[in-house]
Symmetry: D3
Subunit: 290 residues, 6 copies
């Protein structure tokens, strides 16, 4: 995999790339492979293919595209002027591929499925980022990701200019209503969490009201606060109340329609599940000449 295809400041493990590509190819090749091309395209027929964007968007997934073609045809020639994270207009050529026609056709759909899905996530993220330009607001993702694709989608969020929230249940503490209730209140739950957590684990707590926010601030025990389903006015009040003492994250009801208003409140983060679980694919295609 050409490393220069990765987004400069985001990470995707080669182990993850290899696993995702292998799994995707296996489910498309099945047991008998591309029976159509084997039946109709003579062995040795060369092909040139252009990976093109058919819509405006942000690209994510080029290293997986390259890896997929190389998996089936190790000596295939791959060239790209762009890399992940690039913002492109419709009709932009993303990559040129020269190799055996049978292999190109066999990998086409797998490559496009990977690229279209991740570019869809990156583009959705970018659309949020674009609408908050000039504000302090950072867009971040959630754990509401497509099953099996979390590391890939988290990477695509970075490609789109977003930030990553937790990668899993294990890399930070996020206290929600059930935890508060069982532990006996905000101070009690924060004390319990602080006592259990190591020094490199942050603690965020979710609140529904300004009153709860006040309680959190009074403890001095949280590292961040998630403001759940608050309207813009309440978010603004929360910002004022907090006075920069803690990062604030708006969550719930974050849509392209509301994001500018949320940004205007002065909160630090807004998190959206939609950008990973429901973003539509970016339309990408392979233009093939034989």
């Amino acid at each position: 995999m050409p490393p220069s295809l990765l987004c400069p400041d985001a990470f995707l493990s080669p182990l993850e790339i290899d696993a995702a590509v292998t799994r995707a190819l296996a489910e498309d090749l099945g047991r008998a492979g591309d029976v159509t091309s084997i039946a109709t395209i003579p062995e040795g027929t060369p092909a040139r293919a252009m990976v093109v964007a058919r819509a405006n968007g942000v690209i994510a997934g080029l290293p997986l595209v390259a890896a997929a073609f190389q998996k089936l045809a190790p000596d295939i020639a791959i060239a790209a002027d762009l890399r992940d994270g690039a913002t492109v207009a419709a009709k932009t050529t993303l990559m040129r591929i020269d190799g055996p026609a049978r292999a190109v056709l066999a990998v086409e759909r797998t490559a496009l499925n990977l690229l279209g899905h991740l570019s869809g996530v990156a583009s959705a993220t970018h659309e949020f980022v674009r609408r908050t330009a000039g504000s302090r607001l950072r867009i971040c993702c959630t754990r509401k990701t497509t099953p099996g694709l979390r590391a890939l989608e988290k990477y695509a969020v970075r490609c789109g200019g977003g930030f990553n929230h937790r990668f899993g249940l294990d890399d930070a503490i996020l206290i929600k209503d059930n935890h508060i209730a069982v532990a006996g209140g905000i101070r009690a739950v924060l004390e319990r969490a602080r006592k259990a957590a190591g020094h490199l684990v942050k603690i965020e707590i979710e609140v529904d009201t300004l009153e709860q926010l006040r309680e959190v601030l009074a403890t001095g025990l949280a590292d961040a606060v998630l403001l759940d389903n608050m309207d813009a006015a309440t978010l603004a009040a929360a910002v004022k109340l907090t006075a920069g003492k803690l990062p604030l994250e708006a969550s719930g009801g974050i849509t392209l329609d509301t994001i500018a208003a949320v940004a205007a409140t002065g909160v630090d983060y807004a998190s959206s599940g939609w950008i990973t679980h429901s973003a539509p694919n970016l339309d990408v295609a392979l233009d093939i000449e034989m």
Copy 2:
């Protein structure tokens, strides 16, 4: 996994369920698990949880939800009145779970991600099916699926009342423009394909024009024809021309807006990539009492 949770007339292998659930749990639990609940919820605290739909839709994924909870807590109690394929209204309870609070909270997001994604696919499919009620048209999916989730999404399409196109490159022949060009025309490519194919492999060929359709019909060598990007009038003409000799599949530009018109043309199948690669999640949630 309780078998009765599967859609009655669709198949999903227990091997596939186990693999998908294991992979999804692994990426959420990470190396340290649900550090929040371990820190704040005493061991042994019981919980009762209701899986609920928060929007109207068709359900797919309940066997995976059950498997996910059982993976972390083998003795957890699971009860459901519904099964996959059920059409539900918002606020319907889909499943009841009684077990240790720590396990319930640790599995919550994984279970909802699986259920929301697959129910999204089923619901999108069903919406197409609903708009074509009374016609002969069958909705089917494509190979434009989310990487790594093909078998699950193909199953969800069945739950939504759709039909499955090819599962991969290997279970039928689908001849496209490149194959035709390289082989030297429609008759030539069909002869080549027929010669290579075994007697249990169907051959579909994609055409762009009625003229091409006439050529295909003249050969008597195809099992089905894909009509690519034709408007309703051309589709209707194709139906007339074919006169029931072969199944016809409309592809390209199949949307909720156009589907009724496509159905009215009399074609047999319409295929949509959108229902698998871009259907938004169905909103599902876990209501927990401790």
Copy 3:
């Protein structure tokens, strides 16, 4: 893996090759590897090895042989004038290998086991094909394959000049006596199957008698008919009765002794489980010079 070693018109996935070779090497190398050669052959001793056929036959498995040697010695030199699908006489050299003696000896048995097994399948298939030369009959395999080796054996059947029947339960419908009985008869079961099947799934039905064949033909709902355990006279009558309306497959009692008579009946396909589950290995060896 040098792609030119594959049979020109058959497919074997590089993922499948890698998995099969890795598994086979792992079970032979065990935990301590080739303790004999490490103890007795000085490191760096070079070896030249010829892979030779010791009996007449058809070759299948050379890409796996190459992959096995490369797995243990990535820089080993491999040359071959032949490729899979070649018909060879005893004493033909199939491949030349130059590399470190320890690696050559460590891979020898694994490589020969793979090549001998698959060439055995290809040769058995070819023997059937040879005895039906001049007829329309095509030899095909079944799902009676060696557990874990289905894709490899299906490929070897192609190398031997045969055709592939279903790769699994999922790529075509094959209705047998139990299905007919439960569904309530031939017309009923075919209607049920046709209703459930997508447009790219073929339906074959097994019949025991000409009377059943007549029923099938009357429905016009089947794509192929399997004639189970019929003698040559009955097969010939079935061919006459069918008059080319459907492909006919003879199954049961297909042996090297009977195949010419079956071919003479005019059926289209004869399927044999023996060629995959019981074909003896082709005798292959490694002649090593150090």
Copy 4:
């Protein structure tokens, strides 16, 4: 897996059983499962199935059959009076299965492929054993096994009354002509091997002539001798020459026709690759009532 189905004095790891069954089921179920039964057999239809031998032989593989059915239908009822290693006559019922018809039909072929293959190996082994009854000769297998099935086939050899040679390259030293040549002769190679080997690693050496056997005996450094491709007279001479000082193994040209003569020579072991790489399947079937 019911442990009592295993041959009493042979071992097959549950890890190995699970892996083999999972792999075999996966390749037959594919992505869509048993589309025929799902289309034609109503969910919930019960079935009773008898696993029967259709030929005389020795049974191996019942634990895998049970595991395969349980994998798809965990609550299926399985009963057996026999266990692996049993010698049976044609028409003997081996196992009774009661469960959902869809699951029974979906597993049928996988179960029979496993059972037929391993029983074929056990039966072939047993046939050799039977013909040497009354002699000291022990039949043993080689490393010429079907790729990926070594542990299973070595187990089947035990079921048939045979003994196991090396399981891989790593569990004993077997010195052949190349090793002797490179090391500079029989004494030199044995000294080198003895020096490198730990105290729990046996050393066998292959000889072609009585002269070589004399050399081996003179060193006192070998634990066993493989007599390669010797006729019965030479084998008898070797036995006389050795006078019980070392176990002798006859190898090469071991067939059902020659085995009695080999046994008469007084050698201790005869090894056959044929019993694992080329034994035909035992004919087994599933008789199903619905």
Copy 5:
């Protein structure tokens, strides 16, 4: 796996337990299993075994012991009064096992290797904890773990009363000398890190001198400071200088001899690689009666 065997406030995923146990059993059973017991112990012989500690220590690994026995003998009876995290004296019985003798003997070494290794880590951790009783100091581990066993060893550290540092490179930022040098100094590197990090990622920075510590404190951008290889006097000065504004971690030269002095300086954390990469096994054994 009985959940009650896990340490109450630490987590170990059942997926991790299953993978570790499967891998460990596979490497001990090999291809032929416990050939000694199969040869010498009649099938069906019962055994009772006591897992006992032969030295004082803290126990970690009982769920893995249980899982290992259940893997080979699903119906084996397992009873334990203790659970992971228990401090025990030599000769304490940890678990009682009743089951088939062959299975007990086959699993013995695997179970003891798992238990001895993890209890070794827990006991080493506990010894540090014990020597710092009464101080604010918390003992924590590092990423210097045994390859492949990180999640297990991190869990064992918790069993021993320690805290976990980072689980990997990805769950917190830890800035070292190279990062500082490349980025152009302490303020520059912290600004860069803060800008890149999401709001749930903590930033710790390693310093060698009090001067560097002053620079860090002046930025207000770090969440924790690692004091590298400082003697007790310097550590005490660092504590004074920091005045509780940030958690301080002492690292380098942390041994059982120095730990009390380190605790006396008032730092918050001391991290030791030794407790995971070099702690000797706790001596545990299986006392078996047949």
Copy 6:
């Protein structure tokens, strides 16, 4: 992996190396990779790194170090003058690495964990070997290895000049007290084992007393004897009693303090679990220049 980095006369499978390195990298990179270096080191920054020993010892693991760096940066330049099995003094440079700084830093800890652990085993082994120089005694390992690392540790023992005992339960018979008791005594158990064992399986039996040793010798049925927990005087008596008829292995209480005395008794082997389960890591480090 450069093959010349392996110890000349020991074996480590490339399959094993790849699996170990992949697993170790995966657990350190996690889902987000080296977030510190991505945040603070510009892409493309080059680095030169020296792998150095910080203590005297014997090196094992260099091929794994190379493989780890190549996994993340396939084009990285690696040079080494030494190979596994080398005895080095503190401050010796073992390997030079030139490549992208981000990759070097991301792999650093994984590489050092692998190298430090295996070199620890090799060095511990070597220390025993060194203290027995001039004697016939060979040091060997046991099955008391770190779970999941057996093949690697057995290899490291060879690097340190030791010999390997059994790799698992399956490659030799080792009869212990329970087996003797159940079988009804020493002669009975040896007869049973000899009858069951193939001709390439050695039989060792453990004895506690000289009386038992006499019994074993009287049978003539064992290949080796393990003398359990005998003091030096008893060991010497055992040697005298045995008079070279069988290899003798001292086991139990084998430490650096006792090993010279054990060697002086004239036994052939001494086995130590400590060298694999409790040897401390060798101190190794990466000196990086950017």
